[in-house]
């Protein structure tokens, strides 16, 4: 349950938060913070994909 459901969902929540924070920072004109949060979101998305594939195998 934890590996198959909670972990991927928690990663997805982190990705959503990072995307929202990145968009918010870019809208405020803070490009550095925006790019940082987008990088966090992309790395988080990659981690979520890898984790999901691993735990479903």
């Amino acid at each position: 349950m934890f590996r198959r459901t909670v972990l991927p969902l928690a990663m997805l929540a982190v990705v959503f938060g990072a995307f929202a924070a990145g968009a918010w920072a870019m809208a405020d004109g803070n490009d550095l913070a925006g790019l940082y949060f987008l990088a966090v979101a992309l790395v988080g998305l990659r981690a979520q994909t890898k984790l999901t594939a691993a735990v479903s195998a």
């Binding site: 870019m26 809208a27 987008l38």
Partner: protein, 257 residues
């Protein structure tokens, strides 16, 4: 014996199917980018540019001509060449008349009048129109229904998928609420592109998760198959570690500033 079906213009329009994709995308692009230029009052003291109005109307009529030709020709046996010529004519006449509309009223395209949201919507509309025009139209081939022994389920539908996908779709749409009061048009477009891309990536991540819930548990990796049945596969923690390090670096930077 079945009676021949009575066809009306309305039923013909509803049955246009794939051939109407270009027209629908064209009407959308026209409504977002050409109609406001042709029918808006952008001149000095709110005067309307009648030349632009005429060309905007002609651009719409070019689309209407395409629809009417499709309706009239699509059921005829030897009309394939004429249909292709009509589609080409629709593409070029619509694009040319829209271009002339913009040229005769360039003031309407200034950033003061063209908001970032409408700019992005128009860009998407023309991209859709270009895509629909370039792709070949695939007509459904009527074939008799095949009677088979029965349907065998390929997988089990687990509960909660609709709710989960709905929540993620709502979150992806929620991202679109950010950045609608930005004064600079370029930054507004940047934020729209970022939020659109983020929404698509989020839905992709949700799709990966849902597909994994329904996917086969058999591991094609031979090394994994040789593992003892009770043992779990090790988690690929490289990207997770990279994520944690990235977040830690950000926190450290925020604390030291």
């Amino acid at each position: 014996m079945s009676e021949p079906r009575k066809t009306t213009l309305r039923s013909e329009l509803l049955e246009l199917g794939p051939t109407s994709q270009t027209i629908v995308a064209g009407v959308y692009a026209w409504a977002v980018t050409v109609a406001p230029v042709g029918f808006g009052k952008h001149g000095p003291r709110g005067a309307q540019n009648w030349v632009a109005t005429v060309f905007a109307t002609l651009a719409f009529l070019a689309l209407v001509r395409g629809v009417v030709t499709e309706v009239l020709l699509r059921d005829k046996a030897d009309a394939q060449r004429a249909l292709e010529q009509s589609r080409t004519l629709t593409l070029f006449s619509f694009a040319t008349l829209s271009l002339v509309t913009w040229i005769v009223d360039t003031d309407a395209l200034s950033p003061v009048r063209l908001g970032p949201a409408r700019g992005v919507a128009g860009m998407l509309g023309w991209a859709l129109f270009a895509y629909a025009s370039s792709a070949p139209v695939v007509e459904p081939v009527p074939s008799p229904a095949r009677v088979e022994a029965g349907i065998r389920a390929r997988g089990r539908v687990e509960r909660g998928d609709a709710i989960f996908v709905g929540v993620v779709a709502a979150l992806a749409l929620g991202l679109q609420l950010v950045g609608w009061t930005i004064a600079t048009p370029e930054r507004g477009i940047l934020v729209r592109v970022v939020t659109l891309g983020a929404g698509i990536l989020l839905l992709g991540g949700a799709g990966t998760f849902v597909a994994a819930r329904h996917g086969s548990r058999a591991d094609p990796n031979p090394r994994a198959r040789m593992r003892s049945p009770g043992s779990r596969a090790p988690l690929p923690l490289g990207w997770v570690v990279a994520l944690v390090l990235l977040i830690a670096a950000g926190l450290l930077y925020a604390l030291t500033q």
